[in-house]
Symmetry: C2
Subunit: 254 residues, 2 copies
């Protein structure tokens, strides 16, 4: 089978985060599949078709792209951030596993990108400079009890925590509950970073304390990083503070 | 103060992972600081000085770069992967916090890159498609007991686990001990990915099972991803298997 399917990470925001590999893979594709706002970020090229779909149609999009690749085309599925972190790569592989056996013979490539967590961390300093956990706060695809258990495990073991999908219209209370739960393990002064739309014109990165985090606003475009007991804040005159987690652990954990 | 210091992530391996932002920041710098093999990956430019240092001299390198920036230069500290993940960004900010107050007035920027975990995951499929933890297995800067506690917490809560710095000449037994510990929480068939030198000519990515992982070879250039109970393997004829962690959690955790 001659078809090829690449799942390509665009990084967050504008073109600055695009890698050379992603640029080349986009240029080589016969057809692009993706959520419309991500497709809009890719310059149009002659002889390249575009197939936009809605944000919640990952499964159907993956199947359509695989069918197209199985016809012999070079197909690209575009994804914001990194396709492997709460994005399209897992959807495509789920479709491969449950689809026609012939799809396994396709040339399938995942092209990594800068995921939101890395871009937000970079804007704030180096909050992920030591051990960290990354989880989605959405209970659409897993029970809320499991999310609570993971937050407990991560905070009590001293991991910094990056939260994807913190809030949506259908999930209004989960983020506040997560902060309440984390406050059982962490001091109120623990730095919390809210990064929204990083790399876009309306980018916003703010640093607050865990005790005040419930009052900060967040939406589906927000990535949140909650520090550990080791995370430090460097205050600067006339500039936003720098947040970082040292490479060495000084004291024992409580 | 007019000086600028950028900590720039080159991504792993060759130029394919370099972002547009990192490319532009490297081009704009008056001086480059870094571990020699990373500097070697940056094309030489006229009027740009190079200051190579050894791998274990992060603190001294950070201070030298900050002093140079404080003289008014545009200084770049280059880092493999992402500078914020077990790399130079935290070292630079540690030096800022403990250094002369004037260093806080510098224009300090962190330029994110593709960290090894994302590149290895992409080569193998989408093993980080659901919640995951990232930790360094080095007990040079934290007690081994804390690493064991974090491995326990991560595995028992169902996180996929990415391990940086799995082994070195001075730390020969820690990785085997980590696999033994993880085996208490996870089935022997759990997929384990060993990614070495991804993006380089001598790249190697292998998938094994947790029960056999202790027999696989690893070194400081290896990044290891240990799956969760949810992680799946798609076997393919004549091609390496695809490993992925589904977006949805099916059953309850044990």
């Amino acid at each position: 089978m001659s078809g090829r399917l690449a799942v390509i990470g665009l990084g967050p925001g504008d073109q600055r985060y695009l890698t050379q590999e992603a640029h080349d893979a986009l240029e080589a594709a016969d057809a692009l599949y993706g959520y419309a706002p991500y497709l809009d970020r890719v310059p149009a090229r002659p002889n390249q078709t575009r197939h936009a779909s809605d944000n919640r149609e990952e499964g159907a999009r993956a199947q359509a792209a695989l069918r197209h690749a199985a016809d012999g085309a070079n197909v690209a599925v575009v994804s914001g951030g990194d396709p492997g972190v709460f994005a399209m790569a897992a959807s495509v592989l789920e479709a491969v596993e449950s689809g026609p056996h012939a799809w396994r013979a396709l040339d399938i490539a995942i092209v990594p990108g800068i995921t939101a967590m890395l871009a937000v961390a970079a804007r704030a300093g180096a909050p992920l400079g030591h051990d960290f956990c990354t989880l989605s706060l959405s209970d659409n695809l897993k029970p809320w009890e499991l999310i609570e258990r993971r937050l407990d495990a991560a905070a009590s073991a001293g991991f910094v925590i990056a939260l994807y999908n913190p809030v949506s219209r259908a999930r209004p209370w989960q983020l506040g509950k997560a902060f309440t739960l984390l406050s059982r393990h962490l001091p109120g002064a623990t730095p919390v970073i809210f990064g929204r739309a990083v790399g876009r014109g309306d980018e916003s990165v703010t640093v607050t304390a865990l005790a005040a985090a419930a009052d900060a606003s967040a939406d589906m475009a927000t990535l949140i990083i909650v520090g550990s007991r080791e995370t430090r804040l460097i205050v600067r005159e006339g500039q936003s503070p720098l947040v970082y987690t040292p490479r060495a652990v000084e004291g024992a954990l409580t």
